[in-house]
């Protein structure tokens, strides 16, 4: 039985070609970033090894049924033959044809079971990352893990940064409705359910950026709730960790950025935390998003420019050209490119500025003041803040310093 | 056969026969009610007397016994056509099975 399976796994491509059905054909060569047939890690590989033969079996059965039906249609069409004997069936044949599918499925079930339990293991975890979904972005929270140099928690959003070849365990939850975390190249989905903590194994074989998308319907901007997993070599990951934990560097005196910091303190800090940012009076600026945002959280912007995307990975922080350079980089240099972060030349000014100008206009999210009744006055997403173009320029300059 | 007068008569007859042959006597009903009352008293007593590990099973068994007695005797299911039993117990067993599985997925029974 096992050997048949292994053969199916090995020959699956040949068999698929044979059972030339469009569904099955979708597995051969492709470019969509969320393709479910291109495993890039051991967990997705477990799934892939399971689904290829299953699809092949399904394809073959489909073909058999189609051929049998068409053959019957041709052979027994009305050619003036007399009305046939009124036979009522052949129990032996029936039973055989019932048992065969049952046996096929029994084999499938055995391998399915194996995969289910392999994918549910949590005791071999090497690294834990807490993931929280909210309308409509993901927050990542790396608890202290000295073996990775994480000596104090790191909070980030949008892009999940992880080391390659490491068994990462996501602990998912949600602050409002159900979301679902899905990086097709690394594993299947796991819902982020408010009130529950659920785990998902992730492991990447090679450095690279892997696309994902929230797949549980979560309201207006569900379609815009995307994410990316960035797998870095262990060395690169250590650099990333170090940068995330680096102390706050205040913008140079009298620069545009410093004016931006002021605007930020006035306008933004009530929701957004920037670690190490001080108020004019020398006290640390602590954000209180729970008082302003329904889900109780807004992205931590301390190292905004270390990410490539913003607002639920809906928009690029990098201009198209710079982005393509990172995304299409071969896996040995992708880490370096990614760690370069967002430089002034590469910044996607247009989208960031329109975000600051009027975020709800970019993403549907009921964040305008007229629709706050249901949430008791709290915003769902980032509100329209009526900033002047001047302020926006200052803010952009400031945000650029948040490396 | 579809002339209604005839089978209406037949139907009435059937109903009456059936009441006579299968019905219990009033005394019988009162006996059942007395047993039910006694079990209820026992049930309530579990709140005050410590039954130890037997507490839960005892309660559930008493509940089931009462349930079945009312269904079988007061509702006549025991004496009536099997189709009625099928209809009712199909629903009951399905409900118990499905909802037990449902609670099991919440790890309800192993808390």
């Amino acid at each position: 039985m096992t050997s048949v399976w292994i053969m199916l796994v090995k020959k699956s491509r040949a068999i698929l070609g044979f059972a030339a059905i469009s569904i099955v054909a979708a597995s051969c060569g492709t470019n969509a970033p969320q393709d479910t047939w291109q495993p890039k890690g051991p967990n997705s590989k477990i799934i892939d090894d399971l689904q290829r033969p299953v699809f092949a079996v399904a394809g073959i059965i489909g073909l058999i049924v189609a051929v049998a039906v068409i053959y019957t249609l041709i052979k027994y069409r009305d050619r003036g033959q007399p009305i046939p004997e009124q036979t009522h069936g052949k129990p032996a044949l029936e039973i055989t044809l019932t048992i065969i599918p049952a046996l096929i499925l029994a084999v499938v079930a055995v391998f399915t079971f194996g995969a289910i339990f392999k994918l549910a293991k949590t005791d071999d975890t090497e690294m834990i990352i807490n993931v929280t979904g909210q309308q409509w972005w993901w927050e990542y929270d790396y608890p202290t893990q000295n073996e990775f140099g994480i000596t104090q928690p790191i909070i980030s959003s949008g892009q999940l940064v992880m080391p390659v070849g490491t068994k990462v365990l996501l602990r998912e939850t949600s602050r409002d409705v159900i979301h679902s975390y899905w990086i097709p190249a690394l594993n299947g989905k796991r819902d982020a359910v408010p009130g529950r903590v659920q785990t998902l194994r992730l492991e990447a074989d090679a450095p690279g950026i892997y696309a994902g998308q929230c797949t549980e319907f979560c309201g207006l901007s569900h379609a815009n709730m995307r994410m990316e997993a960035v797998a870095l070599s262990k060395a690169d990951f250590a650099k990333w960790v170090a940068n995330q934990q680096a102390a706050y560097v205040a913008p140079a005196k009298d620069s545009l950025a410093q004016q931006g910091e002021e605007v930020f303190l006035n306008q933004c800090v009530r929701c957004h935390q920037v670690n190490g940012l001080m108020r004019a009076d020398g006290t640390p600026a602590i954000a209180a998003p729970d008082e302003n945002v329904w889900s109780g959280s807004a992205p931590n912007l301390t190292h905004l420019m270390s990410r490539n995307t913003f607002a639920g990975a809906s928009f690029d922080l990098l201009s198209k050209q710079c982005r393509d350079e990172v995304w299409n980089a071969p896996s040995d240099v992708v880490g370096t490119k990614y760690l370069a972060g967002v430089t002034e030349e590469c910044l996607n000014q247009k989208d960031l500025r329109s975000w600051l100008r009027n975020a709800p206009a970019m993403l549907p999210m009921y964040a305008n003041a007229t629709q706050l009744k249901a949430t008791g006055g709290k915003y769902r997403g980032m509100p329209y803040l009526a900033l002047t173009e001047d302020d926006i320029s200052k803010l952009v300059a400031y945000l650029l310093t948040l490396k | 056969m579809t002339t209604d007068t005839t089978h209406k008569a037949a139907g009435t007859e059937l109903a009456e026969n059936h009441a006579e042959t299968h019905g219990m006597s009033n005394a019988g009903y009162i006996r059942i009610a007395a047993i039910l009352a006694a079990i209820t008293a026992l049930e309530v007593s579990t709140v005050y007397i410590d039954f130890g590990p037997f507490f839960l099973p005892a309660l559930l068994i008493m509940m089931a016994v009462k349930f079945i007695m009312v269904v079988s005797y007061f509702m006549h299911l025991k004496f009536d056509n099997k189709i009625f039993s099928f209809m009712f117990y199909a629903g009951l067993i399905l409900a118990v099975g499905v909802y037990a599985a449902f609670l099991a997925t919440f790890k309800f029974f192993i808390q």
């Binding site: - | 009610a33 007061f74 056509n81 609670l103």
Partner: protein, 196 residues
């Protein structure tokens, strides 16, 4: 529900349409109450600062009202039995007593709800509150509908305007009534007697 009589149609099984219909309906009700009971069981311990079940339940009181409902099943069955013997007076008497016992039970429930409410358990207080009131409320509504049917029956009998066969109608309502009783048998044990 008396359409059966309308039909000039012999039944294939020899049993009456409405009785079969009623049992079918009761089979379905098992899944309704099953769902409500399971929801309660799942949520009974989740009190978010409100009172816990054990803090507010008054077992002696509920035991008495449960007993009242149980006995109404006896009076109901006596009514059915009288109806089968065509003893109209007795039928009416027992139906009335059943309705009264039912009303006593519902009255007890109203009292209980008020008491719980005063002790801090509102419908929105906690999951326990929501699911408790929903479950027992559904049951109470069933009893109330039963009472209305019983009283209507008595009224109709008085005017001797029973459509269809009298005994059968009484039996039907009896089945419904007993079902409501057995649901309470379960609720009484699972909700009240098993502590959380």
């Amino acid at each position: 529900m008396t359409d059966a009589a309308v039909h000039g149609h012999e039944s294939s099984t020899g049993i009456s349409n409405i009785k079969l219909g009623m049992w079918t309906f009761l089979g379905s009700e098992c899944l309704l109450f099953g769902g409500l009971i399971s929801t309660y069981m799942l949520y009974r311990g989740r009190v978010t600062g409100g009172p816990r079940p054990a803090q507010i339940f008054d077992i002696p009181f509920t035991s008495v009202s449960s007993f009242v409902l149980l006995m109404s099943s006896l009076t109901m069955v006596l009514a059915v039995s009288a109806a089968h013997k065509s003893e109209d007076k007795k039928t009416n008497l027992w139906l009335t007593v059943t309705a009264l016992l039912g009303a006593t039970f519902v009255g007890g429930q109203v009292y209980e709800f008020t008491a719980f409410y005063n002790e801090g358990l509102g419908f929105s207080t906690s999951l326990f509150g929501s699911s408790f009131y929903t479950l027992t409320g559904f049951h109470g509504v069933h009893v109330t509908v039963g009472i209305i049917m019983l009283m209507a029956l008595v009224g109709i009998f008085k005017r001797s305007e029973v459509p269809g066969k009298k005994a059968e109608v009484v039996e039907m309502i009896g089945l419904y009534w007993h079902f409501v009783d057995i649901v309470w048998i379960i609720i009484f044990t699972l909700v009240y007697l098993i502590p959380v």
